[in-house]
């Protein structure tokens, strides 16, 4: 290491001031000395060492061999956390039952009533149509076409009813209403086409 003006630094260091030790310093040293009073220290040095009880190692070994989950289940904190979670969950379910379920049940009952009313409203006409189709030649193309049309629209309607019963209400109710309207129209139309041709037309009085 090369230095220039080293003497200047040395002189400056020599002139650095000395500071007075705080009064507390000796008191601290004295206090420390007092804690190691020879008589007390001598007696402390002679205090006995006790033998660890038998069986401790066995318990340590068993505890170390426990899987983490078992260890967690043994801790009171884990049980408290689990109890808290279960209580919270029960509270949440209770609240959900109180606030939502009766409403949902009421809505479902309303939907079922609506579906039943719509289906039943043209049941007589449908039964008459089916009886009429039975009476006609089964392999006639117009009969087969009429049956297929009715079957297709019935299947679509039944699917919508299943969707509604499963609680998927978004749009299904409206579609069912439309579907039932079309089905009802089809039943009347087919009845008119297939069944009324055999009967003499009513003449106005």
């Amino acid at each position: 290491m090369k230095e220039k003006g080293k003497e200047t630094l040395k002189r400056a260091i020599e002139q650095l001031p000395d500071y007075q030790a705080p009064d507390m310093s000796w008191e601290d040293i004295q206090a420390d000395l007092e804690t190691t009073e020879p008589v007390l220290q001598e007696a402390i040095r002679q205090l006995p060492v006790y033998s660890a009880p038998e069986g401790v190692w066995g318990r340590i070994q068993r505890q170390l061999a426990q899987p983490t989950l078992v260890r967690m289940m043994r801790s009171p904190q884990a049980w408290a956390a689990m109890l808290g979670f279960l209580l919270g969950l029960a509270g949440l379910l209770w609240w959900a039952n109180l606030s939502e379920v009766p409403e949902v049940i009421a809505e479902k009952e309303q939907d079922a009533e609506l579906i039943a009313a719509q289906i039943a409203s043209y049941e007589a006409e449908e039964q008459a149509l089916l009886a009429c189709l039975e009476a006609r030649q089964a392999d006639a193309p117009e009969v087969q076409e009429a049956r297929t049309k009715l079957q297709d629209i019935t299947e679509t309607r039944d699917s919508l009813i299943i969707i509604l019963q499963a609680g998927e209400k978004k749009g299904a109710s409206k579609r069912l209403r439309r579907m039932e309207h079309r089905r009802k129209q089809l039943v009347y139309e087919l009845q008119k086409q297939m069944c009324q041709t055999d009967q003499p037309e009513k003449t106005p009085d």
């Binding site: 804690t35 008589v39 007390l40 007696a43 402390i44 205090l47 660890a52």
Partner: protein, 186 residues
């Protein structure tokens, strides 16, 4: 140098290093070897702090389980014994913490002289230590018997350095009074 405030340049001896590494691999034989090496010293420490053989036994067990599970946290900045001792002190103190009461130091009382005389009977000293209130006893054992500093005691027990000093003073006053009552001190 105090118990845990050792130099960061502390060199762990090869045998100790080997034992630590085996314990890190969860080698049960090595763990047993370590337990056997320190069990009596640590049981004695736990008993001095708790003043109860059952609590001391529980602390010994919990402490060693903590030592083996926390071995990866041993940074080799102090001796293995000092590190184990710190864990034991914390574990034992936890057992009696609820019963510990700390008293602030009265200036006038602090001026009083504690005279130990010329002789103390060791067997009675043990009794007198066990008779100390839990908070005083822990501070006394840690500082006078185990050689911890007030700073280390404060950190371990979660108290201030001033509280540690005042508890030591009261512990000594109690001890002196007890020894005098037993008539074993000249």
């Amino acid at each position: 140098m105090s118990n845990t405030e050792q130099s960061s340049s502390y060199q762990i001896n090869p045998a100790e290093k080997e034992l630590v590494e085996a314990c890190l691999r969860e080698d049960r034989k090595a763990q047993k070897q370590l337990f056997d090496l320190y069990k009596d010293a640590m049981y004695t420490l736990c008993y001095r702090i708790t003043s109860d053989t059952e609590l001391a036994q529980d602390a010994l067990q919990e402490g060693f389980v903590g030592v083996f599970r926390g071995m990866k946290n041993f940074r080799k900045e102090s001796s293995l014994g000092a590190w184990i001792k710190t864990i034991m002190v914390r574990t034992a103190y936890k057992k009696i913490r609820k019963e510990s009461r700390f008293q602030s130091l009265d200036e006038e009382v602090a001026e009083q002289l504690i005279d130990w005389g010329s002789y103390i009977d060791v067997s009675y000293l043990e009794q007198a230590i066990q008779a100390l209130p839990p908070g005083y006893r822990t501070v006394f054992v840690m500082i006078e018997v185990e050689g911890y500093s007030h700073k280390e005691v404060a950190a371990t027990m979660g108290i201030s350095v001033g509280t540690s000093k005042s508890q030591l003073f009261y512990a000594k006053k109690h001890l002196q009074k007890k020894l005098k009552a037993l008539g074993v001190r000249s």
